[in-house]
Symmetry: C2
Subunit: 432 residues, 2 copies
């Protein structure tokens, strides 16, 4: 399989930014996306309004390289979940680092990939609705474009098969269907091996579809041990389908799994299984790219401590921060900041104050002293518990680490990359 070509970002970088875009200075001249990094703006100089979502460029590049080295060293490939960032500029970084495909969750996200030239996409979902299914089949006529999607039941396969009748794909480029294996009480996914094999057989029987392989999403399971069983199902079903001759001889056989919490177990279990032809062992992690300061940080510590896989040098670090101003110190023990539910994720732990900075007085941000803790977020405000001796005063800046990058990215149509001195080097457009 050939590596994917780099993305075509020229049109994106030339795109004029709406001056009303959250995060742009209020007196900015009319700018294209590509010009933002050339203004010499610096967060610490007060050039940007806060809140602002900031990505440390050195860290995000190291994280991307780390995952590339990790998958290469362990006979895995990755289709990074693009839904996390929905930023074609970050997709391009992932493609440059060898991504086998991009993963998306919806057909709108597929369309973003198509515009910017991603050549292989995994929709980690069953497309539903005539418009969405038709768009998938239209995409198959694109030069050199390959599309994988999921199915977990006969009703879903039937909808895809009807779509293929309405929009027959090229004979050489069918819709590749990964059969999803789930678990009782879980999300989508066939609940038994027999049910999954029935779905696989229905795919094989349908014109315009081909069996791409099997997959699961183990990220909702509570423990690595629970993930093992589900991942083993994926391997066992692949073996069974190979034994039954359900795969086309000229199509790759794909086994896939992998959120960002148990990707080590996915690699270990896939590597333990034996197959009678080459297979693609595909991770779909997305959050590794910016990592986080809460749950994925903890999950990664477990991986580093436990895995039997080869770990490359370096380690994942948190690259994504949201900066806010101290707005008020209305009483002892409480600080109110200019950041809220619309600016930062709050579904996987409250943001974590990391550093603070006083413009015009300090030369570098300093580590946040102990005892500062976010107590609550409103739409546009952050309530932070504050020790009596806290140095914070209105106008100070605070950098917060975040949990769950997906729900921070989706609050920004533009994020900025910064260098080690918080100078802005590039603006990233998102498509949510």
């Amino acid at each position: 399989m050939t590596p994917m070509p780099r993305l075509d970002l020229a049109r994106l970088l030339d795109q004029r930014l709406d001056p009303l875009t959250k995060g742009l200075p209020f007196d900015a001249p009319p700018l294209s996306l590509g010009e933002v990094g050339k203004q010499g703006w610096n967060v610490l100089a007060g050039d940007m309004p806060l809140p602002l979502a900031v990505i440390r460029q050195d860290v995000v590049r190291r994280n991307s390289a780390w995952m590339s080295a990790f998958t290469s060293a362990n006979d895995l490939v990755i289709a990074p979940h693009g839904k996390t960032t929905m930023s074609p500029q970050l997709f391009d970084l992932q493609v440059a680092d060898g991504a086998w495909a991009m993963t998306v969750a919806t057909v709108q996200q597929l369309e973003v990939c198509l515009r910017f030239g991603v050549k292989r996409v995994v929709i980690a979902n069953q497309p539903i609705g005539r418009g969405a299914i038709d768009a998938c089949f239209r995409a198959l006529h694109g030069e050199g474009f390959e599309l994988y999607c999921l199915a977990d039941g006969l009703a879903g396969v039937a909808m895809l098969a009807e779509g293929a009748k309405r929009n027959p794909p090229p004979a050489s480029n069918p819709l590749r269907v990964l059969v999803e294996i789930g678990f009782l009480g879980g999300r989508t996914g066939a609940r038994s091996r027999d049910a999954a094999m029935a779905v696989a057989n229905a795919v094989v029987a349908a014109d315009g579809l081909t069996l791409g392989g099997f997959e699961c999403f183990e990220g909702l399971l509570p423990t690595p041990e629970a993930a093992d069983g589900l991942v083993d199902d994926v391997a066992a079903l692949t073996q069974a389908a190979l034994a039954e001759g359900l795969f086309e001889a000229d199509q790759p056989v794909v086994l896939s799994a992998g959120g960002s919490a148990f990707f080590d177990r996915v690699g270990e279990r896939f590597n333990n299984a034996r197959f009678n032809r080459p297979v693609v062992k595909l991770l779909r992690s997305g959050c590794y790219l910016t990592h986080d300061s809460i749950s994925y940080a903890a999950a990664y510590d477990r991986i580093v401590n436990e895995t039997s896989l080869t770990l490359p040098d370096g380690r994942l670090e948190a690259a994504l921060e949201v900066w806010a101003y101290v707005q008020s110190r209305p009483e002892d023990g409480r600080t109110i900041l200019t950041m809220g539910k619309r600016d930062v994720s709050f579904d996987a732990g409250m943001p974590v104050p990391l550093r603070w900075f006083r413009p015009a007085e300090m030369s570098r941000p300093e580590a946040m002293p102990a005892g500062h803790k976010v107590a609550a977020l409103n739409d546009q405000h952050c309530h932070m518990e504050t020790p009596v001796e806290s140095p914070l005063q209105p106008g100070d800046m605070v950098a917060f680490g975040i949990g769950h990058p997906c729900t921070t990215f989706d609050k920004w149509q533009m994020l900025v990359l910064v260098d080690e001195n918080y100078r802005i080097t590039e603006a990233l457009k998102t498509f949510f």
Copy 2:
């Protein structure tokens, strides 16, 4: 005070929509915002991808008219909180119904108001940061434009005063500052009447600022009785400042409060107070416009049952729905739908399934049978508990009511207005 003129929306309606905008059909021709409503698209015909955020146009117009009648009947005015929708087209509806001003939370939101011609804005926050403060003072040079903002402490007033020195406003158009009164354990706001009066005196002493009045945000308080005390503080401080001669003779005296839960109490308490000159009794509710299906619905029931104010005919109803497809019925008791944390609010109760519809088989949506309940949301999926006898199957559509409109609106760059048959009549652009 003259009513605000209608907004200038022509440029907005002519704006070309990015075809990648979430909610647009995947095969839509290149379209301007204003053309979306002319395509004859219908949600029930399967013309739109789901999830889709839908506003019932008759309901939203009735809600806007209801609030207009309510405030008029009770000697109140309203500056609807625009942060809820951030949709200039809905701002225009509110202005047409007599809004005294628009309220916003941030300077980015102020800039949205400025672009579309809102002539009076209340920033219900202390602007922080040189760029934000400078933008406020620049705005004061706009023809016929008036700006109110908050301050709750001497540090904040000092920052505003420095801004006025950097950017002196026209003598006839100072920055109008409302002193914020808070409560212990609350958000921003001076914690005592003495502290608030010190802030008011600092405002009066600063060039380029003028005392606009006093305000609070009572929406975070747990009970209407607790709200009463805070609202009474606003009235008492206004009386004290009048007695001390802190207001300019030619400037309005503003008392303001009012989230969307206790706006009746605000009106009652303000109306109980006596002042020695005319005052503006200003509500800032925002969520009334689309209302909701959870907490504001309950808060409104209390208002209707308890208030001594005059209630106009009709009542607020939920106008905002998010529609999703049934994606999978993987096991008895569970339905997975194509809607997640990125599409619908989840911070004030899980979305409520209201109706369902089977394309090509049913003629109208039917009420959701009892026993369907959202158990969880992932980024892009909804898990719904489902009774054994549920009629739902993959491909069916489900309409969800939402809690907390602010955090549903901010997940959409485009929402659609629909008529009573779910035909799309207009697309609404948002600016988050």
